[in-house]
Structures are given as C-alpha cells and as structure tokens.
C-alpha cells in the first residue's frame, strides 16, 4: 500500500542527494535501510513523493578511527558495526547495544544513520550516542554543520535537522582506555523496542570516578541524557549508595507514557533496575 505516485532516486554522490532534497523540498525524503520508513509508509504515517536512496553513495559508508574519534558513516549497517572488530575494541558499548537491536534481518539492512536520524524514542542508538557524546555531521544545501547528539532531539520524530539536511557522519570521541561501559535493555521479546534501557560510560582513577555519562531510551519523547545523575557519581568510589543515588536521579527525569509495555510507574521501576544494572556492570568493567 505504498502510494503509487512516488519516485525513487539513487544518487551516487552526496551533493546530488542534497540537490535532490533541495529541489523537491517537503515532498522528498531520504531512505537508508528502509527498516523504519517502509513500515511507516505502509501505515501512511509518511507519504513522501520522492525517495532519495542513500545506499549508492560510497562516501556515506566509510568508517574508521581518526584522531581521537570513532567515525561512522551514516549508511553503515548495524550488522557491520557488530562485526567491526576495531570499532568494537575501541568502543565496545556500540557492539553491546547493536546486538540488542531488532533481529538479524533488520540489522542487516538498518543503518546507524537511519537509527539516529529517525527520531523514534524507541530507537536505541540515539540514547547511546548521547551517552557517548557523539556529534552528528549534517549536510544541506547551505553547506555542512555539526550538532551534538545531546542537542539533536527535540520531540518524538522531531530533530534539529532540517528536512533538506542529510546526516552524513557520526563522530564519537574515543573513550579512554580502561573505561567502563554497559547497555542494559529490558524488552518483551526478540525484536522489541525497549520497555526501558540505559547506557552508561564511566572512567575511574585509583578507584575514584572521574567521569560518568548516563543516557536512557524510550522513557520520554526523546532520548534522555541524565547529566545530573552522571555528576553525582564523579568523585565517588562507585559504591552501591552512589550508584543508587545516580539511578534515582536519572529516573527523576524520565517521562514514560503508558502503552502495551506497561503503566508509567512500572516503566519507572524498570528504568531504575536497568540503570542500576548498567551502572554496576560499567563500574565493574572500569579499570
């Protein structure tokens, strides 16, 4: 039931893609892996007249680590991320989270760029990127700019990117050697979005925490970066009381909605458990 009258473009370069978006304005939309867009189009939640396929654009697929950053091209697939040993070594949190997304078929098509650009509060990568303090590079008709993941999400399906901008690259500051990490996701079955999920990245020196970053998935209209909760941990020995206090502080900023995954209070309770488990595992892994 995809609308009959739409057109498909498969440009080879980023500049052609940007030009197509500029030319067709509101009526155009990019498609990457199609794993979110195709179901939305079927449900008529999206009905673009022009689809601009990013898959043939070689420059969007590159990935690697350069000068203190892990760089991931927007159309890198989730499955590729899982099997990329060098990225997994530098930033194991990415792999741990990617393995908890959807199922093998979806991960074989779904892209990182699509996952972060989509703006669905259920997507796992946005919270993860906030935790990692990633920066998104955008390219539009007026040129390029960068937006921090922590500033990118405005409301469900609303981001700070303009309709004619393409997310081209994700830049993640390479976490320090010896950092601790964890992604804890509670879901109802394989392939389900999170009831609640928490991402944690922290570092410690001589047993004392010197940085901590906490973000959450599907507990509000946007991913939630729990800045205050992270600050509570800095200077602590990551003892149980400190972790509990941080988890409580993080839960305080959640605004889950009741749905098939459960009522609000239940989701908050699950969030707290996910946070505590992620914090404990990350603390245990940090050296």
């Amino acid at each position: 039931m995809i609308p009959a009258k739409f057109e498909y473009h498969r440009p080879d370069t980023l500049s052609e893609a940007v030009a197509l978006l500029a030319h067709h304005g509101d009526d155009a939309r990019v498609i990457a892996g199609g794993q979110s867009l195709t179901p939305m189009m079927k449900l008529r939640l999206a009905a673009p007249g022009h689809l601009v396929d990013l898959q043939a654009i070689a420059e969007l697929r590159a990935r690697g680590s350069v000068a203190g950053f892990v760089k991931i091209g927007a159309t890198c697939r989730q499955a590729e991320l899982i099997t990329d040993e060098s990225i997994s070594r530098l930033c194991p949190l990415l792999r741990e989270a990617a393995l908890q997304i959807a199922d093998p078929q979806v991960r074989n098509m779904g892209t990182i760029g699509g996952n972060v650009a989509n703006g669905d509060p259920g997507n796992d990568m946005p919270g993860l990127m906030q935790c990692l303090n990633a920066v998104f590079a955008l390219q539009g008709p007026k040129g390029g700019r960068e937006v921090a993941a922590r500033d990118y999400y405005e409301a469900a399906y609303v981001t700070s990117a303009a309709d004619d901008e393409i997310l081209t690259l994700i830049k993640i500051p390479t976490p320090p050697i010896g950092h601790g990490w964890a992604y804890e996701k509670q879901k109802r079955k394989i392939g389900d979005y999170a009831t609640a999920a928490a991402a944690v990245l922290l570092t410690k020196t001589n047993g004392v925490c010197d940085s901590a970053s906490i973000a959450m998935t599907n507990l509000g209209e946007t991913p939630l970066f729990a800045e205050e909760a992270g600050k509570l941990l800095v200077g602590s020995t990551l003892d149980e009381a400190a972790l509990k206090a941080a988890a409580k502080a993080a839960v305080a900023i959640t605004e889950p909605a009741e749905d098939g995954r459960g009522p609000v209070e239940f989701k908050r309770a699950v969030a707290e458990v996910m946070l505590l488990r992620a914090l404990k595992r990350a603390a245990g892994r940090a050296q």
Binding site: P3, H9, K42, Q105, Q186, K189
Partner: protein, 923 residues
Amino acid sequence: MEDQATLQSAVSFNLNGEPVLVEAPFGERLSESLRERCGARDVKIGCNAGDCGACTVLLDGAPVCACLTPTHQVADAEVETPAGLARIDRYAQRLTTAFARHGAAQCGICTPGMLASAVALLRAAPSPTLEEVQDALGGVLCRCTGYRSILDAVVAAGQGEELPVAISGGVGAASARVDGVAKLSGAELFGDDVAPAGAPVVKVLRSPYPRAAFTLGDLDAFIAQTPGLICVLTAADVPGENSFGVIPGFEDQPVFAESEVRFRGEAVAAFVGEAEAMRSFDPDTAPIEWREASAVMTITEACAAGTPHLHAHASQNVMCQGYVACGDAEAGLAAADVVVEGAYSTSFVEHAYIEPEAGFARVVDGRIEIASCTQAPFMDLEAVARILDVSPQQVRILPTAVGGGFGSKLDLSVQPYLALAALKTGRPVRMAYSRQESMQSTTKRHPAEIRLRIGATSDGRVCGFDFEGGFNTGAYASWGPTVANRVPVHASGPYYIQNYRARSRAIYTHCPPSGAFRGFGVPQSAIAQETLFDQLAAKLDLDPLEFRLMNALDNGVRTVTGQSFDTGVGVRACLKALAPKWRVARDAAQAVNAARVSGRSPLRRGVGLAAGWYGCGNTSMPNPSTIKAGITPDGALTLHLGAVDIGQGSHTVIAQIFAEAIGVALHDLSFVGADTDITPDAGKTSASRQTFISGNAARLTGEVLREKVLRLCNASGEATLEILPGSGRLQVLDGAQRHEIALREMPVDSDGYALAALESYDPPIKPLDANGQGDPYAQFGYAAQIAEVDVDMTLGLVTPVKFIAAHDVGRAINPMLVEGQVTGGVAQGLGMALMEEFIPGRSENLHEYLIPTIGDMPEVETIIIEEADAHGPYGAKGLGEHVLIPTAPALFNAIRHASGACITRAPATPDRVLAAINAAREA
C-alpha cells in the same frame, strides 16, 4: 541523473544465480516483486511489516526481510530465495534433510524463512552452537513447532547429520511426514500461492469502529472514477442468506453489514479491481458515512442493566449457557474443612498463524470453485452454497495447504467474498487478508471472567466445587455455544468431584467474534481450577502432586457428567510419570534459591505443576468421518485425504493407521488431497478429532479393503500384500503361496478403481440431560506438565527454563508428531500465560501482539503415556488441544512457588507479576 532515475522503473539483479530484469513501480516491495513478477511464491508474506520473517531472502548472502526491502534497492545485487537455495545450496540440502527428520516443519509456512536464515548461518559458521542458532533465527516466527525441533534440526545439520529420512512404518513409527517434501522445497502452495499473477483482486472495506451505523455513498460513481476498479459488492449483492455461522441455528454473522456494524473490522463492502491498480487501492477512500455509537466491550458492560442488546434474540446479551451439576455443590462446600476461592480473568488470544487468510476462486462450467486455506472444507461448501443460494453440488472447495489454523480457519473468512466476486465479474479472483485485517476480523480465544470456589476435607479429598464462567463471545456466535457447552464438562479437571456445579454463559459484546482456539474455553477454566488446587494443597499442607493423585480420576470412576470409562483414564499415569522429576526439580529449585539469596540475585526459581483433560470430538453431537481408498487398475494404492492437515500431521497419522490396517508400508501409498469433489467428508479438523475419528475411519477402510483383496484370492488373514504401482498387478503372499491379482482385467468403479473401500466412523456418545449428565465424548485425553521458571523479583519478568510434559495419547501413532504437537502446544500455552493479549484497535499487528519467539522457548521434555483407549484406533486418542491446557496453570503455579505472587489474570505480563509480587509482600 535525476530524470534518468525517475523514468527508469526496470531493475536488474541476480535471482538464484540467474539474471532477471523486473519492471516494477518504484517503492514496490521485493517480496511482492519476487512473488508476483518472478514467480517466486516460495517467499511468504506473513505480516508485511518486518515482524515475522516469513519473507526472508538472502541479499548478497545476508538474510533480510523482503517485505521491508524496496525492489529498486536490490539493483545489481544477488538475491537468493528459499526454493533456489533448496535446489542448489549444499547447506540447504542438509538442512531440509534434518528438518524432515526432526519434524521441524509442521504447517510449513515459516519454513522458507527459517531455511534461508539457517543457510546464511551455516555459511558463516558451519557447526553452530544452539545459542548461535537461536540468535540467527531470532527474526523468524513460528506458531506451530515451539521452535525446539527447528533448533535441533539446524544444530544437527551443522554437525553433518545426513541420515536418510524414513517415510515408512505403520502405527508407532516416527515416520517423516508424508507431505513433508513440498514444505521443505518451497513448493508447497498456501492460500495466497495458487492464484495466477494478474488475477483481479478483492479488498474489503471494514468498520473502523466497534459500533456504528453507516450509509454508503455513491459507490457506482466511485467505481467509475477510480481507475482499475471493476465492481463493488455489498449486502445487496448477496443472492442467498446474508449470514453465516458454524453451528446450525447460530448463523448470525452477516457477510456484509447492512446498516450497523457490531465490531471493529466488520465487513461492509468489497471492491474488485485489476491487480496492478489494487496494489495501491485503499478501500478506506470509498465514500461512506459513519455514525459511531457507544460500544460494550466487556462482559460486565454487556450484562449491565439497561445496556442495549446486540441481537434482538439475546436478552441481556446472553448468547447461550451451559450447565453441569452432580451431587450438591453447596452442601459439599459447607461440609469442607478448607475452602479456597478466586476470581480470574483472561484476555482475547489471537491465533496468529503466520499465514493470513487467503484464496482464489473461479467459475468453472457454471460451478464456483474456491481454493483457500481452511480447516473445514465441507462446512465451507455448505455455508457458501447458502450464501449464494445454490445447491451444494454447485460449489467445489479445494483446500490449499494451511499455514496454521488452531481453530480460527474453521470459520469462513475470504470464501464468501471470493465466491461473490467471481460470480459477479465472471473472472478468476483472488484475495489475501493483510495481517491487520486477519487480526481484526477473524475469531479469537474467548476472554473469560471466572469465579470458582473449591472445598476439601482434611483428609485431602475435594468435596465441593462451584464454578461460574462468563465468556466474551464478541459480536457473533461462531463457536461460542461450543465453548459454553465444553467448559462446564471440563472445569472439574481430570478429578473425581462428588459435589459439583458449573455454569457458563457466552455473552455478546462489540468485540471481534470469539471462536474456536485449541481447547475451546478449557485452557481458561483450567487456570482457575489448577491454581486453586495448589492453594488447597497448601492449606492442607499437602504436596501439590500428592494432592492431585489423591483426587485423580481412574478407570471406573465417574466424571462430573456421570460418565465412567473401563479403560484409558490416564491422568494418574501422567502424574506418576512426573513424580520423580517433580521432586528433583523442587529440590533443585530450593538449592538454586538458597544460592541466589546469598548471592543477592534478583532471580528466584519456581517449579509448578498442572494437569488437564480434554474430550475428543464434538460434545454430545454426532461427528462422523468418512475415508475412501482404492487400488487403481495400474496397481497404485490411493488414500483419499479428506481431513485437512493444518500442520499437526493428520495426513501422516491417518496414512500410518490405514497402512497398518491394510498391511502395507507407508511408502506404498499414494494420496489424493482434500477436494470436496473427490474426497468424502472427513469432518472438520478441530476438537482433536482427526486421529481418533478419521483415524478410525481409515482403520476400517484399510481393514475392509484388505478383506476384499484377501477374499479375491482366498488368502488367509496372515497374508501380506505387495503393492506394485504401474504393474497392473497386486501380489498377495500367503505363506509359501503367491497370488497375483490382475487388476487391469477387473471392472472399475465410478472413481476408476479396480478395488475400493469407503468406511465411516462416528464415536458413541450420549446426549447431556438438563443437569449435564450423559456421555459427552467417547474418549478423553489426559496430560500433566511441570513448568520451571525464573522470576526476576525486581522486574516481574518470568523466564521459563524447562517444561516436562507427560501426555496420555492412548497409543502414539507417530511419536515424532506427538512431540511436535506437545512442544508447539506448550509454546502457545506459554504465550497465553505470559504475553498474549489482543486488544481491539491496539494490538492488531505482530509487534504489539506478542507471540513467543525462538528466544522464549526452553527445552520441553515429552513423556508419552499410552493408556490404550477402548474406542481409539489401536488405542490412540486425540492430542492437539490437550497440550496447552496444563501449560498456563503450571506456569502460574511456578510463579507462585518462586515469588509468592498469586496470578489471577492472564497474561501475566511483567507489570502484573511485579504488582502481584508486591501485593504478596504486603499480605
């Protein structure tokens, strides 16, 4: 660049190694292009939303959902489909062998997706572990098998297991399925696979409201304005009765609503159009004015004073009632030393077979022919004739392979629309329900509201039992009367209860019709009875298994309907078989929990038990089966398979029984499939009746045909037959003597057989009187199961870790198929217990409506008990529905054992379990 892109609609890629060029509109899904433009009907569509994985193909070697892949994205890529793989890939060939040996394809609709995913895995990891297989197949849903046979098959294929598959052996042999080859090669044709590409398509306009009045706009003008539309069908186009139903006297569901709709998803009109145009046609764009009215969605609302009646004939919205009483329930309860009571509620459960309803129809020589998935071809035939106002001879039903049924495909779905459209247009037409349409409009398991009080004396005997159950039957009757009748007969469980009263009512609401679903209401009542039995045992300080043994039925002991059996009452044997395992598991749980407490783990292990019983066949109603077989002048022995095999394996079971009776090997048989023109009526595939009833008919047919052969040559009863297809001869070896029957010289009957037999079987039953006393079934099957679970006390999350299922099947005609039924049934019981809840308007897809995935199903240890039944063929009993009856209560008892939480509402979703844990802590 841009213009080129917008004009070009052809895309080229390699399909199973061959280059193809496909002309498709932009945005068409690869699944659609493969099926309709490349003839690759082995790619199945179960949801069109990425949820089920039935459409899995390999794209440059990686499994992807073809339904989420725009065709134009695969330009220049390598696409492999399951049938292509089965033909040329060596891993696929190993896998198909292993699948056949392990019974890993039941209905077979998920098999292509499973095989494609498994091939990709084996290419990357030739000898995968169980966990690797679980991960790799995580995106493919199966509703039949419970996954364990699939896991085992893939692991075995990885270990290079290539043992030949046996299709031989009579009764008792674990033969491979007789219909297995097509299911594994991708050649099997399901409801949507038979129509020629390009046939006109039917789409139904459905109500978006549970209750509304409506006025259709100018549909003729709409047809004229909409390119590709051929015609519209409404109530005015129904020549006969605009109603259908499955039980005589209860045909209350209209084919098309006439002025008012009673549930969300009810049909009001159907559009027929050319295939290309219908791809993008949305029936909701048709002119119609809706006037929504307030709806009653629950039993309580429907029974409240002043609530309007859905149907004029049903006062207080009560569609029908059931009643069974013996002794004096009140007096028994009054005399009890301990009494427990509870109020329980369960949800709508969706069958969620992976194949949505689909079919194809055409007019041939003035007769209407319908090929569609169905569980009841002869009922379809009668119902369609009634709607069309033609004689039954004018209708032919050709059942396709059925991609799962579980009860819902007993009712009409696509058939009337197809028949009306074929007649009106004079052209062959097809239709396939979307997943949403299937979930909105077809039947569900009845939600139940149950109150139950049970009393026992201090010596551990149940002495009083008072059951009251309300069943939400939705907007139309469907199988509601059957549920209302079955429940009071079964609510006692397989126990001797002296003083008993059970009342049931089926209540109309503005919900989708509730119908038949594995167990007809019994799984719901078993939840109440079996969990209260645990509470009684606890109050009496008795072990739950001990308590059940003290009250279990036996041969010669009367049931609550006053029936008693001389042989075959197997519940005690089931419980006894579990006893040693029960003690080991309970002790182990204690040890595990002690370690967890000291390790501050949030997990607690619990072990629960439940038993169940189920009467095979219709309740106190005749339900005969007829089976035909013949020997052709060429020498082929042909068995007519009139019973529909919905995946459970009835073709194989019936063939094994027939082969045993006539005295040949299974591979000596050839088959003609169900076709109402050439196969006699073997009745519907429901009520666990095919093994028992059609099996008996097959046994009689085999015996009679054998007699005829032996008589022809005066051979003794010990003689063996040799089937020599193509030879024109039949050989009979009688000791040292060899007889030859020259078949070509014999006269043939109207079916073209030189020798034939046709026999019927109808089980002996007695009607129930006003107190529900009588012999409702000729046999019951029995079961008892242990569930072991881990409960996360902080998340309310329940993770089953093992099931042990003891099932009395009388005689296991095919042990492999028995295990397949048990594991699949346990999976459905698990779903009902822990996750499945259909909410009209909210969970009409397979991501909101959860069914167990491969990650949810633990090991199931099956123990086969054979307490021979006096009436069953070779002692065999039915099994299909029994399997899921004990599962939910066993799980709930395990949850209580682990956590103290008392579960009274199904499903026990994590939020409910957590609330129950907290409530138990406070109490």
